[in-house]
């Protein structure tokens, strides 16, 4: 029994390391928000945005929450529904809600903010994000998902930064949005592929046995992203 307790104690410690990531996130966020310039209106908008962000993360992480809690995977997979149909039915309301809220946020933000900060893009990116991470929620808890989201979020900023450095020139109304859209799409690809390849073949075997494909694609992706974040961190902060 002691062995098990030691293992448990170490597990909880690793989980609590999320605190470090929160600090990192707050640091980056601090820089972002200082740039924008906070006032009362901005605070409201920021609050709205943060709620949206949290919801997008939470909606993604809890895609299979009811099946997990209710031990209903077997029941779900016995339905005469293809995997694609299942995902569509699960994602549509969540995505729809996020997009609707994003639309509302954009209206509240006003045209100026739209151009400058691409809130819609942010929302789209989060929608895409939660879409591809859903399956992760089956395997680990909210904590692990949060870590992954944070890495993704930072990574998206890095990519946008890199794109602009590479001299990618975007013209027109959506000039500021374009790099963020592009980076979101680029990052979406490995996540979406990893998720779909895994979920397509999923059945009620213990989840851990079925995650090989997912880890094979996601872990390298996360490592690359983290590396990029670490490397470009300073330049990111100053370049913004």
């Amino acid at each position: 029994m002691l062995k098990k307790e030691i293992r448990d104690a170490l597990k909880r410690f690793v989980e609590s390391l999320v605190g470090l990531f929160i600090i990192f996130f707050v640091y980056i966020g601090e820089i972002l928000f200082t740039r924008i310039g906070l006032d009362y209106k901005s605070l409201v908008r920021t609050g709205f945005v943060i709620t949206l962000v949290i919801y997008a993360i939470y909606a993604g992480a809890t895609v299979f929450q009811s099946e997990r809690k209710d031990r209903a995977f077997e029941y779900l997979f016995s339905f005469p529904l293809t995997r694609r149909k299942i995902m569509t039915v699960k994602l549509a309301p969540r995505l729809g809600l996020i997009l609707a809220l994003a639309g509302a946020a954009t209206i509240i933000a006003g045209r100026g903010l739209l151009e400058k900060n691409g809130i819609i893009v942010l929302m789209l990116f989060f929608s895409a994000l939660f879409l591809s991470i859903g399956v992760f929620s089956i395997v680990i808890n909210l904590c692990g998902v949060s870590i992954m989201y944070l890495i993704f979020f930072e990574g998206q900023l890095v990519f946008a930064f890199l794109l602009s450095k590479l001299g990618a020139n975007f013209k027109g109304y959506f000039a500021t949005l374009a790099p963020q859209v592009a980076s979101a799409i680029v990052l979406l690809v490995p996540f979406a592929i990893a998720f779909w390849l895994t979920f397509r073949r999923m059945d009620v075997r213990p989840i851990k046995l079925q995650m090989k494909t997912y880890y094979l694609i996601i872990l390298p992706t996360l490592m690359v992203l983290t590396a990029l974040i670490v490397v470009f961190h300073k330049r990111l902060a100053s370049g913004l």
Partner: protein
Amino acid sequence: MIDIANLSFSYGKNRVFKDFNLSLPDGQVCLITGINGVGKSTLLRLMAGVLRPDKGTIQFDARLGPDPRRKIGFISDALSLYESLTVSEAIALHKSVYGLEAIDDTLIRHTKIGAGQKVRELSIGQRTILHLELVLSLAPEVLLVDEIIHSIDAYLRRVFLEQIVQLLAKRRMTVVMVNVNFHDIEHLIERVILLKSGEIAVDETIEDLKAKVKKVSARIAPDSLYILSQIDYEDHSDFFVYPFHEGLHETLQGEVCDLNLAEIVSAFIGGEYA
């Protein structure tokens, strides 16, 4: 009909089935049994489409449609349902997924299941009956029942089996039951399949099985007959022999006794543990 061909399946490193074959004709009532962990529930889950085979196919009659799960009623030993839903929500969900007009809820009301009760609050017996009613509302062509019959009280057990008999009387339905207890279902079964290490060790009709497996009580083992297992007493032993045939009555020393299904299966399994 159900056609399982070259089925291979593993749980991680544990290889459960390799090149497994089984064919069940339409309307047959089949029992799958064996020791715990041999793969009975796994086989049922594979048939239900809830587990996907690594290799091989499981095919159903064309009239089940492109997705046979629409006409397969599966009751797992976990009685998997969305537990946080109330009974009426669970029924509504089931109706919408399968495109049903209505669900016969006479039994549900009979077992005092409240429409507002959460599924997780129901007793196992009530939950079993609820699950059964949901599943039977599909008018399934194939009914797969994993060992839950003997976890419920004797009255509900009878109610459960009555439902199945009623349906069998009305229409052709292939029934596959996984059980380790037989006494209530013995007269329903037509075919007995015993699994051993991922393979079919015995596959006979129940009549043939009862004719071929006998208990011979004697001092010494009867030769020329395969002994599945034996129980030793002070001055004699009970030998469970297979395959027996009528002609042997004269030549055998010792008393020959007929067996019920539990004794027969026990004889086969007992040999495995020896």
